[in-house]
Amino acid sequence: MAISSLIPSPSINCDQPTECFHCGEKLDVSLTFQTVIGGKKRSMCCPGCLAVAEMIATHGMEAFYDRRTHYAPPPDLELLDSKFAGYDDPTIRESLINEVFEDSERIKLLITGMTCAACSWLIEKQVLQLSDVRAALVQLGDASLTVDICPNAPLSNVMRAVASLGYEVQPFTTSERNTILFEENKRLLTQLSVAGLGMMQVGMFAIALHAGDIQGMDSNYVQLMRWVSLPIAMFVVSFSARDFFISAWRHLRVGALVMDLPIAVAIATATLASIYATFTSSGTVYFDSVVMVTFFLLIARYFEQRNRFKNSQLLQQTHDNLPLLASRIILDEIHLVPTQQIVVNDRLRIFHGDIIPVDGELLSGETEVDESIFTGESLPRTVRVGELLFAGTCNLSKSVDIRVTNPVGLTRFDALQSAVASAETKKPRIAKMADAIASYFVAIVLLLSLTSGLIWWWIDASNSFWIALSVLVVSCPCALGLATPTVLTSAASRLQYMGGLIRSENAMEELSRIDYAIFDKTGTLTDGDFECVEIRPTSNFSANDCYLYACALQKYSRHPISSAFRHDSGTSKNQPSNEMVDFIGNIAQSDDANCPVYVTGMGLTFKDNGIEYRLGQSQFIEECVGDVTLPDSSMHWIVLSRGKNILCFFGVRDRLRPNARQMISYFKNNNIKTMILTGDSSQQARLVAQSLNVHSAEFGLSPEDKLGIVMDLQQRGHQVLMVGDGANDGPVLLHSTVGVAVADATDIARVKADIVFTNSDLLCIEKTHRLAIKARGKILQNFGWAISYNFFAIPMAALGYVQPWAAALGMSLSSLVVVLNSMRLNHVNLENRDI
């Protein structure tokens, strides 16, 4: 949750505010809500923001607005109070308690919608005002709120307090795996700090020893230095380097030579030789090299681990999206029950806007559900009586009752997740070149040092052991072993700054070799919203008037296409004509009984003084005016009618994400073939492909079709980059050479992609590709250095020209060169230099 930009002080443009003071939405000129905060009049976009802002102000927490770096999420005032009441149920509450203290119980909640550190401050303040709460701590890292609450005090109060600020809140459920990773992370950090401190101490003594070798040093003091270094190095080796020994041994037992083996052998040999040297007051000690190597290897491992931990927390949140409670109907009464207790044939009430907890069959009425997590398409599906609704999808239009067909654990959502889990383990992994080389390398080195030791036994027996050891130490394969991981770690941290997370170790290396870039359309190249690109009035009302009237109507629709009719997305912002002001005013003044009505799947209808206005698909308008002839078939047309006359045609199309064009041309300039694969078969999809000028595009594809195309390309030897979102892209993301999931990606897609972006800027993909190419260059440089170093150093050592202390220094320096070279990756320029 890096803070990327500060909001310009909201008080500056107080005279003419264009954005909501609270959430930053564009303000509707005709409809604002005002209140006084911090001595100035502030404008809000909706009653929700107004209520939250006033609440914050009256509780003396205005400081939130000074501190925030991002706008707050717009609150949803429709949150049902009853939703939280269920958590007061003793058995449910019991299951949520993490720890019990004398006078309080600790409960962890998951909070969604936090944008910056000021949010955490606000939430803590708000929760601490409750008398039952002893302590509260928000952690941005895992988006959690930990509260210590009096026993038997209602938890719903806390949840309501958070929800009233506009954040979504639900219990935090931790998976076993996450807890293990968390502990692992702490352990590694401890090991790392021990190695770091040890390195400083032993290094201090080592400098004295090296200086003594050159200048001459009293043997008393040499021994003193060695005897103090010994326990420190022993402690570091046994505590911090333990994992290398364990892993080397574990693999050796099954006959595998891994990178950890040469490291373990080198650390062990150098340590034992140094101990021998210390006890016999002979030769040289290598304590400094041992500790340094341990530290450098651990630091690379720690950053890698940290990354993995962050990723696992992303997954965690996927599962938390499913509600824990459902409204079961027994004898016309609604009871909130944990979803675990729901069985087949239970009758559930699904309120509008709710995530559906289990699979079920619609019992009455009809509604629309957002199934983007399964289909990736943003247009909702209309569900009629007897049809199925699936867990994890969102009920959009109205409250309905369902009969449960698949309880928790057996839903389509669960099936999808377990399919992902099993497919993940089957993903073919590229053989690890470094490990392969290193395992031969270590065998050769062991042989070489043994041979040179034996030869020197004949020439000069007193030197043979130290020369054999010099060979082993000078040729320590650490530089080789560090060559890849340090580069990948730097690349990962660089990527993290851009909002990306790497899930597969091979992703970067593979990304540098791609020659095909494939994109999903909805949610990837387009942002799922629509824009109105053409307005053709057919009456004497102006285009501007018609557009503003449509804008006023669409407020009553939840259909995604209504996003085309927002003040900020339109072309015109002029004031409506006087006549139109009255008409729009009539909509605003209409009460619940005669306000515009949304007809599922069709459009909006509104009766104003007996004249019917309609806005929607052409079929819907035809019911009123007879045949409708659309201007042409180049885009999707929405029609506005009044009585029996058509007032206007609106040409609507998918809105491209910013930079989509630039990204496509970047790949084209780099001789990478671009392609669009989409499930959308409409005219709009073709328009998008045309305007982006990609090499090829396929429409109306099922997930299986997409997978087929990608696998076909791979069989012909192409390396395929797949960029997508949505679960329908899941299999493709998994099987493509590199899968990248972009922002707003439904969580399931995240599970399967190699790289996940939480940032919505498509330029990141371009930058990542550049980074991957640079990273590959760095890896090759490191290998080049490590190999040429060894090529010169080993013969020198074998010939007896290298003193053991110089061997140790040389090896440490060679590792250091590799590490520093890799770190330069954090500063390379990734900006576009082609244009």
Binding site: F101, A117, W121, V138, G141, D142, V228
Partner: protein, 59 residues
């Protein structure tokens, strides 16, 4: 140079103390969330929360 026999043990004691401090810091979760703590200095009146913040984690 005899002073080394005196100075080195002192250095080692410092080292042990530092290690203890680091262990304590890690165990009490101070490294769990690195984003939030950059902003803590801006927060006043934490009296009710002090026992939480001292890092012991327990009340």
């Amino acid at each position: 140079m005899e002073v080394l026999y005196f100075l080195i043990p002192i250095a080692l004691i410092f080292c042990v103390v530092t290690l203890k401090l680091i262990f304590w810091a890690i165990q009490s979760g101070q490294y769990d969330d690195l984003d939030r703590h950059a902003h803590i200095i801006f927060e006043e009146d934490q009296s009710k929360n002090d026992s939480y913040r001292d890092g012991s984690g327990n009340e």
